[in-house]
């Protein structure tokens, strides 16, 4: 089945019509929130997350961005400057979280990092380890300098590593990625990343290779630390476990295998009100490469901006309106509230 057909089918699958012919989300996240007695309003804007583009040197199975070497969407200088301007206006925004694609492939990436650090912001980079070796798939530009650049600017580096062994990692991220990841992590360790007390934070991200929930973050972190140290001499700070979001490439795969319904049921059955209270959209705002604002990176990828009453572009930034917005919840939000919860910072419980 063609991807467009799958997309249409899965969109139809995810909705149903009530007695007044109003189309409702199929799994009704808002009803679960209400029944749990929760009021999930924004609490703060501590983090501005910016997706600088969809270009990536890889095309991973689980990627909710559908990123890859042929994607051309990328932040321009004006948007990058506006992001930095907004950061400068708001001391309460403590963190800039930069993601992609492989965010390092944006021509404005280095500039954004440098400017945000000048403002005293904590900068988190969702670093694609293999880009150190692959470089830019379009221009061929080397990205081998990145570990030193990150260290020089005291960035927190967060890397996806789906497992501490080859099979799962290569299945999700492509052949040869595990070995390259080990080499890239060693290069990060060599400049000081991952050593407790060194001040250079290296966090890894686990997400399931398939339609199942992550294991306990604490137990997996212990396994990762033991295995990576004993077999490769690699150290890191924290492991974040993240649930696969049933959107885009992962959803297409679920639909193709006939497992979408079962996966959604698993997420819905695992709805955890405590995890829901800690969902990341309550303390952050997501900025698209073109400046569009969303409640999170997942909504952004589905072209779902902030609610209509609120300015929807960073060029019309209004912090008060953003803080007082109503967060847009849909079916995939169950991915953030299942079990121990899931966020860009791992489990929320």
């Amino acid at each position: 089945m063609e991807l467009t057909a799958i997309n249409k089918q899965s969109t139809e699958d995810s909705k149903h019509v009530n007695r007044t012919n109003e189309v409702l989300p199929r799994f009704n996240f808002n009803r679960h929130v209400k029944e749990a007695g929760l009021d999930l309003k924004p609490l703060s804007i501590e983090t501005l997350q910016i997706n600088v583009g969809k270009l990536c040197n890889q095309a991973c199975l689980h990627c909710h961005v559908d990123a890859g070497p042929k994607r051309t969407e990328a932040i321009d200088r004006a948007t990058a400057e506006k992001v930095v301007e907004v950061l400068g206006m708001h001391p309460e925004i403590k963190t800039l979280d930069i993601t992609g694609g492989a965010p390092e492939l944006s021509e404005h990436f280095d500039w954004i990092v440098i400017e945000a650090r000048k403002l005293g912001k904590h900068v988190m980079v969702r670093h694609n380890i293999t880009v150190q070796f692959d470089g830019n798939p379009v221009t061929g530009e080397s990205k081998a300098y990145l570990p030193k650049f990150f260290a020089e600017h005291q960035c927190e580096v967060i890397c996806s590593l789906p497992y501490y062994a080859e099979y799962f990692t290569d299945k999700q991220r492509g052949r040869g990625v595990f070995q390259k990841s080990m080499d890239g992590l060693k290069r990060l360790n060599d400049v000081g990343y991952g050593n407790e007390g060194a001040g250079l934070v290296l966090n890894l991200v686990y997400n399931p290779v398939g339609a199942f929930l992550p294991a306990s973050q604490e137990s997996l972190q212990a396994d990762y630390k033991r295995e990576l140290w004993e077999k490769f001499g690699i150290v890191f700070n924290n492991l974040y476990t993240i649930t696969n979001m049933p959107i885009h490439r992962f959803k297409h795969d679920l639909v193709r295998r006939g497992g979408y319904e079962e996966y959604m049921t698993k997420l819905v059955n695992a709805f955890n009100p405590i995890a829901a209270e800690g969902i990341m959209c309550r303390t952050m705002v997501s900025v698209n490469y073109d400046g569009t604002l969303s409640d999170c990176d997942f909504n952004q990828m589905l072209d779902m901006p902030l609610e209509k009453r609120v300015p929807q572009s960073i060029f019309d930034w209004n912090a008060e309106a953003v803080l007082n917005r109503k967060i847009v919840f849909v079916d995939h939000c169950f991915g953030c509230t299942a079990g121990a919860g899931s966020s860009c910072g791992g489990a929320t419980v």
């Binding site: 497992y163 062994a165 099979y167 399931p208 199942f212 929930l213 306990s216 137990s219």
Partner: protein, 111 residues
């Protein structure tokens, strides 16, 4: 009923208490305590044991359930396959060790 084994029947396992709730409750409490807790063995280790036993007793419901629970407690297919080999080796060994009885029988008749 088109098949003796239906995957959806696993979801109905709780209904086994329909005519004898007390015994079912005792079973599920014990089952949960034995397989789904962190204690002297980790939950992950217990799921690997469950997967191995599921293969030894050839229970399709258990294989399905423990495959999921092994993944959701952090095992990968290599580790799970090794667990299945342990079960298979023990099961094979249990057959083969009876060959000693066969040898005894041979000796008994002087063959």
């Amino acid at each position: 009923m088109s098949h003796y084994y239906e995957s959806n029947d696993l979801k109905r396992f709780g209904q086994i208490g329909k005519h004898q709730k007390e015994l079912a409750d005792k079973f599920f409490d014990w089952y949960g305590a034995a397989t789904n807790t962190e204690s002297a063995l980790t939950k992950r280790e217990k799921q690997l044991i469950g997967l191995a036993v599921a293969h030894a007793i050839q229970c399709p419901y258990c294989i399905d359930a423990f495959t999921q629970s092994c993944l959701e407690t952090g095992s990968d297919p290599t580790q799970m396959t090794e667990a299945i080999h342990v079960a298979s080796a023990v099961r094979g060994g249990a057959s083969l060790v009876h060959g000693v009885q066969f040898l005894n029988s041979l000796e008994k008749v002087g063959a």
